[in-house]
Amino acid sequence: MGRYLLRRLVLIIPTLIGASLLVFVMMRLLPGDVVDLLIGSELTLSAEQRAGLRAMLGVDQPWYSQYLTWIGGVLSGDLGISLRSSQPVTTLILQRLPVTVELAILAALISWVVAIPLGVIAATRRNSPTDLFANIVGLIGLALPNFWLATLFLLITSIVFRWQPSPQWVSPFEDLRTNLQQVIMPTLTLSAGMIAVTMRMMRSSMLEVLGQDYIRTAQAKGLGDRMVLISHAFKNAAIPVVTVMGVQVGNLLGGAVIIEQIFGLPGIGWLILNGIYQRDYPVVQGGVFFLAVAFVVINLLIDLTYAYLDPRIHYG
């Protein structure tokens, strides 16, 4: 176990370097830089002034020296300073982290609570009306583009119920009620798209396990309670589902951009997206780096839960 963990940890390093280089090169390939954005499309600045601004912000340096400076900072725990807002990137990320994490975890939880039982029921009653119903419910959530669903939520709550949550995000530890009001619409929207994926994964995984010899043999021999069998099968069937869950949470951290925008809850995805639009290199680099670290760590944790779920897996 210890050696496996060590190996996994070592492998993280090239992944992170690769991701940081990728984002670095991509940002520089994007036409325009932060000074162009600062000037905007309306202004007519002299070449001298443009050069002066580039020097002031340090974007006139060659890219490799910019990268080395940046990665050097990262190694000492400094993700750099935003070229636009002059705030440390770490601060910007930390400001948004609570919202992002809350949305991701809640959305994932809601989807799991709905999807896993639906999946299990669908599998045990295969091809029954229940199976059909579960399938359709899951798929409609997946098929509705979430920005559309979000708009619908806004219209219905504001026109029919004359209600909107308090516009300024409040931490759940400060005021749980207000906080839940604020995150209910975005999390429901986000989870709608995830239910189908988890449910179908659960269903097919469950079917696979239920179809296996030892279960069938046990059933044929009339051994044990059906519920016991199902719960036994469930534990095995959950393994691939857990993998998907990990990927889902990872994706939600950076992928909720549109929902964050519509509901005015700026998270990390939104921070990075605007960093791209503003050509704010440190923000994008720092944000992506942070997400990459989070993703890698989540996946490592998931692999470790395998060991718990399936004692036959030994890491050596």
Binding site: L30, P31, G32, D36, L37, L38, I39, G40, S41, E42, L43, T44, L45, S46, A47, E48, Q49, R50, A51, G52, L53, M56, R84, S85, S86, Q87, L92, Q95, T151, L154, L155, T157, S158, I159, R162, W163, Q164, P165, S166, P167, Q168, W169, Q261, I262, F263, G264, P266, W270, L271, N274, Y277, Q278, R279
Partner: protein, 550 residues
């Protein structure tokens, strides 16, 4: 195509009439306002902003009350609050409550004293500003002439970080006379001086040394009615009343938070639910909330001018005949109907509604803006442009959908004269790069817009004076001469004659296709009193006069 002309003509016409009525009524930029500023060539002390007579459009017996906190929706993120280095209008909207300049605009866009109590112009090349005494910076230190000189010296450097430096390029030097008197010497007569200060573009006065010492992007030490508590990008700007404000009893509200809500759907939902007291709305948005009993919607034209800019370094757009042909094939009323949802007015080179400088819309619509496909075809033939000529139309939808919608309507219109418009919709960074000297002007036509200007010169100088880098191939010695003279002429009547001539030439040569100015709407809860919108859509005057009646 034919049906569009007949069916859709009515609405823009109506809004135009409505618009002109507004101009007369003085809700728009009345002719007197910008003239008044220019005309104050002799010693003048315009009336101070009578603080007791806060404008109350809905007169209430109780009168303005102090106190309370309020959440306002901001439609865009300031990105950064540095008043020197930021060109974006949303940035100005972020810092306008905290910083001030020597002059300011009131709700009618008349220039009023701010940090300068009064001023004199002993000759055409000198402005002497008498600074207000007893004004304190938000950190408690005294505001003096040193700060003014420091700010303008920073702005006037040759490689200055001040992005709106061009607004001040006629200034020669700034000198301190005494601790509360500053003297500006200009290279030529400079009629735009007072407006250039008031518009708060690279003109906000910052404390001496602040640019080097402070972090101006997210901290603010100004003299304005509100102090910045915190700015979290993309999230909110929190302001608290400045108890030492010189304009006492203004401002009324103790605390104001601008919650950034870029999505109009979100703003409308919040207005309906009553979670915000103020929001900016599009024409469609205003239509939707008009019926709400507890909301007050103020609507009117704003000086935001949509234009299409030719790349005159490229064939065949370098030929004025070709450009004029495209002008005659452009149906601006259809663009207003479809791209601006009917809420706009056609405009010539100087934005319609801008003082009395603009060409009247009726004159435009019966002249250059009257679509004439036959004439357009004939002009193209004369110029030797073949059927199927491609046109690379660069557009970004990042500052609103109007741009790409305009592109779509224009594309259909150009089909009538055999011009094959290819829309290239790009992200804003790409757009800025491609439409700049750094990107080698990579477009045939780009769609752009002019935000408010403080002087007619602002609509013309940078783009049509041939020596400027952004003229993109436009060159007319007569135009150069006229522009140079007009910007150095103090007498408004003489200037008016020159700008009329300039606009006549421009319309004939069509280096741009000027399309329209749009209408803007702002909605407030009915218990928020005292807020008055302006045609510049700045909110500084409105906020400091706002109070809660509940």
């Amino acid at each position: 195509m034919a049906s569009t002309d007949t069916g859709d003509g009515a609405r823009p016409n109506m809004s135009r009439r409505q618009f002109l009525r507004l101009v007369v009524a003085g809700t728009g930029i009345s002719a007197s306002s910008i003239l008044a500023a220019c005309g104050s060539s002799t010693s003048s002390t315009p009336a101070a902003p009578a603080p007791t007579a806060a404008p109350a459009p809905t007169a209430t017996p109780s009168g303005p009350r102090r106190g309370g906190s309020s959440i306002w929706a901001a439609e865009s993120d300031p990105v950064a609050l540095n008043p020197i280095t930021n060109s974006n209008f949303s940035s100005t909207q972020g810092f306008e409550h905290s910083y001030e300049s020597l002059t300011a605009y009131n709700d009618k866009l008349e220039i009023i004293p701010a940090l300068a109590e009064s001023w004199q112009t002993p000759d055409d090349l000198t402005y002497i500003f008498n600074l207000r005494k007893g004004v304190k910076w938000h950190d408690g230190t005294d505001f003096t002439a040193e700060d003014v000189k420091y700010t303008f010296d920073l702005v006037l450097q040759k490689d200055s970080p001040a992005v709106w430096r061009n607004n001040f390029d006629q200034i020669e030097k700034v000198e301190i006379v005494d601790s509360h008197t500053v003297k500006f010497t200009t290279k030529t007569p400079f009629p735009g001086m007072l407006g250039a200060c008031a518009i708060l573009r690279s003109s906000a006065i910052i404390p001496k040394g602040a640019f080097e010492k402070g972090n101006l992007d997210n901290t603010v030490v100004g003299t304005g009615p509100y102090k910045l508590v915190e700015y979290v990008p993309k999230d909110y700007i929190k302001l608290v009343r400045n108890p030492d404000y010189w304009g006492d009893p203004l401002p009324y509200l103790d605390e104001v938070t601008f919650k950034i809500m870029e999505e109009e759907e979100t703003r409308i939902a919040a207005l309906r639910a009553g979670t915000v007291d103020y929001a900016f709305l599009s024409a469609e948005g205003a239509e939707r909330v008009k019926a709400e009993p507890n909301l007050v919607v103020q609507q009117g034209p704003r000086t935001y001018l949509y234009v299409m800019i030719f790349n005159m370094l490229r064939e065949p757009w370098s030929n004025p005949k070709v450009r004029l042909a495209l002008n005659y094939a452009t149906n601006r009323l259809e663009i207003i109907d479809k791209a601006l949802s009917g809420a706009g007015t056609v405009s010539g080179p100087i934005a319609t509604g801008f003082g009395n400088w603009f060409v009247p819309p009726d004159q435009l619509l019966s002249g250059y803006y009257k679509p004439d496909i036959e004439r357009a075809k004939a002009l193209l033939k004369e110029a030797g442009v073949a059927e199927g000529q491609k046109l690379d139309l660069l557009v970004t939808n990042f500052s609103g959908e109007v741009f790409s919608r305009t592109a779509v309507v224009f594309q259909e219109q150009m089909k009538q004269i055999g011009i094959d418009v290819q829309i290239r919709q790009v992200e804003q960074g790409v757009f800025i790069k491609e439409a700049s000297p750094d990107g080698n002007w990579n477009y045939d036509v780009n769609i752009n817009a002019y935000s408010p200007r403080h002087d007619p010169d602002g609509y013309l100088w940078a783009r049509f004076f041939s020596e400027n880098p952004y003229a993109v191939g436009y060159k007319n010695p007569k135009m150069d001469e006229l522009l140079k003279t007009a910007r150095a002429t103090i007498d408004p009547a003489q200037r008016k004659v020159m700008y009329d001539e300039i606009q006549g030439i421009l319309l004939e040569e069509s280096p741009m296709l000027w399309i329209a100015v749009d209408n803007a709407s702002e909605a407030t809860q009915n218990y928020l009193k005292g807020y008055v919108r302006t045609a510049f859509t700045r909110r500084d005057w409105g906020l400091k006069n706002s109070w809660l009646d509940k």
